[in-house]
């Protein structure tokens, strides 16, 4: 495939009225005006449409096939929610429009918060954070503000070794030192080591529940109780909420804060890596630290409230990824009071796959799982998880998450989600079993795989050693650009 900069200069099409129709005279001083020709190509519309359509054909999405990427909850994204978000009344609304013009949006945001409060058992929410990691960042900032107001200086965060990388990365962005707690043989946080690490310098415990092994921590209540006795806040990384809807609520498990990834549990699409929405819920004693503005409901209608003295401020412009709020809201309305079924089937699908695969691979922890589970392919040798992942593509599946969580060697982290049929799961099992026999019979072939994809394995070492991270006009002459 060519890249867009390699198209020959063409006649550009008229998306706008022509400037000649109007007497446009730019009177900018020389020292601020662009002197060089704007170095972006003119390509005609047909070629642009074909270019990106052809690119799309080299991609894999949930609309194409099974996408069991653990920790990412790659469920089907209902199309009707797209229509909702694209409705003129939502998509063309300027965020600084007067409130008489924005009542529909504000109502939606207010109601979404109410639903999320109910689903998580928290007392208040902000929809502002743009993704899970920003929700975490906001949570840690609020924890710091909370302790500052109490006159306490706490400098550490307790994080289990199974945690997602964002947890320690967030803690250190806020200058908190991470205390890493190992997992016990059942995949829970090691409660003895946890107890020993508690103390007046600890600000918060960041726990993912169910954790990244797909296991509900059996000591959750004890963990929260111990934290609270030491004045420590409990933060829930809610990335795995797809296992809990209507079954148990983090707010009732003792968590003081939780972020949700609306782009996971609530099915908002995030092609290529985003956008997300990392809404944050808190218990009432933390409400006053939430960012501004907050949507409030008054007799006169819905309104944005900026008046909050203890607020940490803002983590982004405007009110959050509103388009994602619309989709998540619409998704919640489609399920309504029956939302528990989502998690029930996510859990059933995961346990079904685990049961069918646990003898072919090593099960990292031999327990019933929640919405995902982690296998180890260590019996097939080094790099086997990678090779299996690559070969799966030839069978038409997106590979699971591999080499995470870090504590499981040759990890294959599988999250089927509730939107997959038994038939799909059966085909996936068959493919995995076939690949394990291929590993024995023709290991070289598996190492060469994938064989059916638009490109073969890519040279990552060369990519880093001789970085080419952007097109340069000088490249035009020496690129083949064959198609």
């Amino acid at each position: 495939m060519k890249i867009i900069f390699e198209y020959e200069e063409e006649k550009n099409t008229g998306h706008l009225q022509k400037e000649e129709e109007e007497d446009v005279c730019i009177e900018l001083p020389d020292d601020i005006s662009r002197k060089e020709l704007l170095p972006i190509p003119n390509v005609n519309e047909v070629d642009v449409v074909r270019h990106y359509t052809n690119l799309s054909r080299m991609n894999f999405g949930v609309d194409i096939g099974f996408y069991p990427l653990g920790s990412c909850t790659m469920k089907y994204n209902p199309k009707v929610n797209e229509d909702a978000a694209r409705a003129e009344g939502f998509s063309n609304l300027h965020p600084l429009s007067p409130e008489v013009c924005t009542q529909g949006s504000l109502k939606l945001m207010w109601e979404l918060k109410e639903y999320l409060k109910d689903i998580t058992g928290m007392d208040d929410f902000t929809l502002q954070p743009s993704a899970g990691a920003q929700g975490e960042l906001l949570g840690v900032m609020m924890a710091k503000a909370y302790f500052r107001h109490k006159g306490e200086k706490r400098t550490k965060a307790i994080i289990p070794d199974s945690a997602h990388g964002t947890n320690p990365a967030t803690a250190s962005m806020c200058k908190l030192e991470t205390i890493t707690i190992p997992s016990d043989p059942r995949g829970n946080i090691d409660i003895r080591r946890y107890r020993e690490s508690l103390g007046p310098e600890v600000a918060l415990v960041m726990l993912t529940n169910p954790n990244t092994l797909g296991l509900f921590d059996e000591n959750t209540i004890e963990i929260s109780d111990l934290a609270h006795k030491n004045g420590i806040l409990m933060y829930c990384d809610g990335a795995n909420m797809n296992a809990l809807l209507g079954i148990t609520r983090p707010g009732d498990q003792g968590f003081d804060m939780i972020h949700l990834n609306l782009h996971k549990t609530f099915s908002t699409p995030h092609g290529g890596g985003g956008p997300g929405a990392g809404v944050l819920g808190v218990k009432s004693f933390l409400s006053e630290y939430l960012p501004v503005p907050q949507v409030v409901k008054r007799d006169s209608g819905y309104s944005l409230d900026y008046d909050c003295k203890k607020s940490v401020g803002r983590v982004r412009s405007f009110y959050g990824n509103f388009g994602m709020h619309v989709r998540a809201y619409s998704y919640i309305h489609s399920w309504g009071t029956k939302i528990r079924k989502v998690s029930e089937h996510a859990i059933l699908n995961a346990n079904y796959l685990q049961a069918l695969l646990k003898d072919t691979f090593d099960l990292a922890y031999d327990r019933r799982c929640a919405h995902e589970f982690v296998l180890s392919s260590r019996r097939f040798g080094e790099k086997s998880a990678l090779n299996i992942a690559k070969r799966l593509m030839d069978y038409g599946f997106h590979p699971p998450t591999i080499y995470f969580p870090l504590i499981v060697p040759e990890a294959l982290m599988i999250e089927p989600t509730e939107t997959e049929s038994k038939e799909t799961l059966d085909r996936f099992v068959l493919a995995l079993k076939k690949i394990t026999s291929e590993l024995k019979e023709d290991p070289e072939m598996v190492k060469q795989s994938p064989l059916s994809t638009p490109v073969g394995r890519l040279d990552e070492v060369a990519a880093a050693r001789r970085p080419n991270l952007r097109w340069r006009p000088s490249q035009r002459t020496n690129q083949s650009g064959s198609e």
Binding site: G271, S421, W471
Partner: protein
């Protein structure tokens, strides 16, 4: 609606394989069990859902928009949303598995290239959340690179961007300073600034570099780059900001598109995903995520940032937009935006408004109204116009783009002129 394909028969067979008799057996350890009733709406069919959502959308009022201030009402060619909606692009995720993500990866490479070409910088990442937090990331990057902890911000930065910067600084234990000296990690200036003023910031870059600080230009209205000198030319080490103007709907404030671009020497400090060109096992050109050792999934507490999910789809929208508009189209957007703003400004001056811009402006400007801003706003509202941002003291921040027709401009003027 119910997006679960399992039949009763499937469920029975699956439970059987798992070795339990009901799904409830699988969640007994999830405690405390929730036994209450959730205050959620009744489940809806697709038809009911469509009616409900349409009703809500109709409760909003879309008027003729003369507001900018960080969100710009530009025309979006039809092909953008059609291409974006293709499921193969729309329903994937981060391209960890490059062999089946070449579409996404190449589009990221093209996005990075567009950003570099427009800003005059060496490297850009695959996107950040939105402009304000992108600017905060630039500040964190500067502190990490220089080992200093003070940030200088030039006046007239978008007030929300300043608030975000303050919040991030509080969390990261950094300070905003009003001096440029040997403790300064970075000097930040928005261009065009919040009032729309455009300036050659060469002098500020020099001042920053003299004390060993990095210079960051914040771009909030990037269509300006079609006709303005790129920041790379006047000494920026970092350019960070918002690219919503490139084909992304206003959508009440998000999802938008944060970006960051730097000079080569800062590459290893960049936050977020970066895509690079390489070759595959068959000798073909291909693309991969690269320099991942900066990122949280490898580096954990020593990562350059915690960002994971970014705004990839919005970056794709911007890439398609820029490809469709091309040099001619984008230049037209910039020229028309400029021209309409200056036309409105001239007409308002004739009607007794006073322009307060201290420098040449692009497509936003500030006027002092001959009457109260409240009255102004309500007169405009009656004509179906959202007229600008009230800055207090009867000052109004007004924006034009190619979307504001001459007729709109005349209506604006007639609404506010006279008694």
């Amino acid at each position: 609606m119910d997006y679960i394909p399992a039949t009763e028969k499937d469920i029975k067979e699956m439970l059987n394989i798992v070795g339990v008799t009901s799904i409830n057996d699988l969640v007994r350890d999830f405690i405390p069990a929730f036994t209450g009733k959730m205050n959620l709406p009744q489940p809806k069919s697709e038809l009911e859902l469509v009616r409900h959502m349409r009703g809500l959308a109709h409760t909003n009022k879309i008027l003729r928009c003369f507001v900018g201030a960080g969100a710009y009402n530009h025309y979006i060619p039809s092909a953008v949303s059609h291409l974006l909606a293709r499921g193969d692009l729309f329903t994937g995720y981060t391209p960890y598995q490059a062999e089946i993500s070449q579409g996404t990866l190449q589009a990221i490479y093209e996005f990075q290239s567009f950003i570099c070409l427009l800003t005059g910088m060496d490297v850009a990442n695959a996107s950040l959340y939105e402009g304000a937090s992108a600017l905060a990331e630039a500040a964190l990057l500067s502190c990490s690179y220089t080992g200093r902890d003070r940030i200088f911000v030039k006046e007239r930065l978008h007030p929300q961007y300043l608030e975000v910067l303050q919040t991030y600084c509080e969390g990261a234990e950094l300070t905003l300073t009003d001096r440029i000296d040997n403790d300064t990690a970075c000097v930040i200036a928005q261009n065009p600034d919040f009032y729309g003023n455009v300036e050659n910031l060469h002098y500020l870059a020099e001042q920053a570099h003299r004390v060993g600080a990095l210079f960051t230009t914040c771009i909030v209205e990037p269509t300006s780059l079609a006709i303005l000198e790129p920041p790379g030319k006047y000494g920026a080490d970092i350019v960070a900001g918002e690219a919503q103007s490139f084909g992304i709907p206003l959508s009440f404030g998000g999802p938008y598109l944060g970006f960051i671009a730097v000079k080569d020497f800062l590459l290893k400090k960049l936050p977020g995903r970066i895509c690079g060109m390489t070759t595959d096992s068959r000798g073909n050109r291909g693309f991969v995520l690269t320099f991942q050792a900066r990122e949280q999934h490898i580096r954990r507490e020593r990562a350059t940032s915690n960002i994971t999910t970014n705004q990839a789809l919005m970056a794709l929208a911007a890439t398609i937009y820029l490809a469709l508009m091309g040099r001619s189209g984008l230049t037209t957007v910039a020229k028309l935006s400029y021209a309409r703003a200056h036309l409105l400004n001239r007409k308002l001056e004739k009607a007794g408004f006073r322009n307060l811009n201290s420098k040449p402006f692009y497509n936003e400007f500030v006027v002092k109204a001959p009457r109260s801003a409240e009255e102004l706003a309500s007169r405009l509202l009656k004509k179906g116009i959202v007229g600008g941002v009230n800055l207090g003291e009867d000052n109004f921040l007004i924006c034009c783009t190619e979307m504001n027709s001459i007729q709109d401009i005349d209506d604006f003027v007639s609404a506010v002129a006279g008694d």
